[in-house]
């Protein structure tokens, strides 16, 4: 699958790894909702590191859409909260 880290680039990632990323993603959001800021950073950093370490970077001249798009690596808790409270959760 193709995973994009927003603001960074795209990676080829094995399906198993993608599942793991998505699981971490779910937990990270749960942490945000529970206002567990440290836990959020932990999970989020692990998620980004997993993609970087296990994924294979796509060349700049490869043009494909992504299956999964992750937020920028320096996303703050405040930003995450904003995504999930205000104009985040775009329907459809």
């Amino acid at each position: 699958m193709i995973v994009r880290i927003s603001g960074e680039g795209q990676y080829h990632l094995a399906d198993d790894d993608v599942s793991r990323v998505q699981e971490l993603d779910r937990q990270a959001i749960a942490a945000v909702n529970a206002s567990e800021h440290d836990r959020f950073h932990e999970l989020f950093d692990e998620m980004i590191a997993l993609v970087r370490d296990r994924g294979e970077r796509l060349g700049d001249d490869e043009l494909v859409g992504s299956d999964v798009i992750l937020p920028p690596p320096d996303t703050t808790v405040a930003e995450a909260e904003a995504e999930f409270s205000g104009e985040g959760l775009i329907p459809g």
Binding site: I29, V64, G65
Partner: protein
């Protein structure tokens, strides 16, 4: 959509897709988008320059305050050795104030320094991102001109569209952050302009009240010692303590040196 709410990636993807939908034909808007990115990058650079300017101004202010602290310390010593404890105290109080101000100023400066580093790091990342986009842009333009690769084009267009949306998102964040920091830097400057620091540094021109009183003290003690010399020459007793009652020097015991009782000094 119930499945959506649990994941960050879903929200981000939706956001990117929303941006993607807005660009009708990525091919047409490529150049415009690229130019716009370059413009925004200039904005970020300008934001950094502004923060640097604020920092430099505060650094200058900090240097002035440091000089002021040294000066007030010297003045306190001068006043005390001239026997005017009250004046020495006034100088020391002002020195304390200047030191407190100096500390808060230094904190502000190091905060601005941190902001500057963060912005510079941001700018670097953004520039790399734009360079990457330029490469993709050239690839898709080349593919458009090679008309036979029709199927590939639409696929590539999706990729470039996503790339455009992503770079747009990165831009937006960088610009927001820059604006934020610029606003904070100018808030610090406003505080400085409001005179918090001015009051303390304008005293340094050699004409404030401590300067004046010290000058008076010096000339007065000069007069006193001349008077003592004169009296000794004319054989009118050896101590200036014999000054007529009601004279200014007699009114202030600390001024009338040698024969004044030691108790007066405590």
């Amino acid at each position: 959509m119930p499945g959506m709410s649990g994941r960050f990636s879903t929200v981000i993807k939706a956001k990117i897709n929303k941006l993607l939908d807005k660009a009708e034909d990525p091919g047409e808007t490529l150049e415009y988008s690229y130019q716009r990115q370059i413009e925004l990058l200039q904005n970020v650079k300008k934001g950094i320059a502004d923060v640097v300017t604020s920092k430099k101004r505060l650094q200058l202010q900090s240097e002035k305050l440091e000089q002021q602290v040294v000066k007030l310390d010297t003045q306190a010593r001068q006043a005390l050795s001239a026997g005017n404890e009250e004046l020495a105290r006034a100088a020391l109080e002002r020195k304390q104030l200047a030191q407190t101000e100096l500390q808060s100023l230094d904190t502000q400066i190091s905060q601005l320094e941190g902001q500057q580093e963060q912005l510079t790091e941001n700018e670097k990342r953004l520039r790399a991102k734009i360079d990457q986009f330029r490469t993709k842009k050239e690839v898709i333009k080349a593919q458009y001109s090679a008309a036979e690769a029709q199927v590939k084009i639409s696929e590539a267009a999706t990729g470039v569209g996503e790339e455009m949306a992503d770079v747009g998102l990165a831009m937006q964040r960088a610009v927001d952050k820059t604006e934020n920091m610029r606003a904070r830097a100018s808030a610090v400057e406003e505080l400085e302009k409001a005179g918090t620091f001015d009051d303390l540094t304008t005293l340094g021109d050699g004409n404030d009240d401590i300067d004046r009183q010290l000058a008076e003290l010096t000339s007065k003690s000069g007069v006193d010692s001349d008077m003592a010399k004169l009296k000794a020459e004319l054989g009118q007793g050896e101590a200036p303590a014999e000054l007529a009652p009601g004279s200014p020097a007699a009114a202030d015991p600390s001024q009338s040196a040698p024969s004044a009782p030691a108790a007066e000094q405590q």
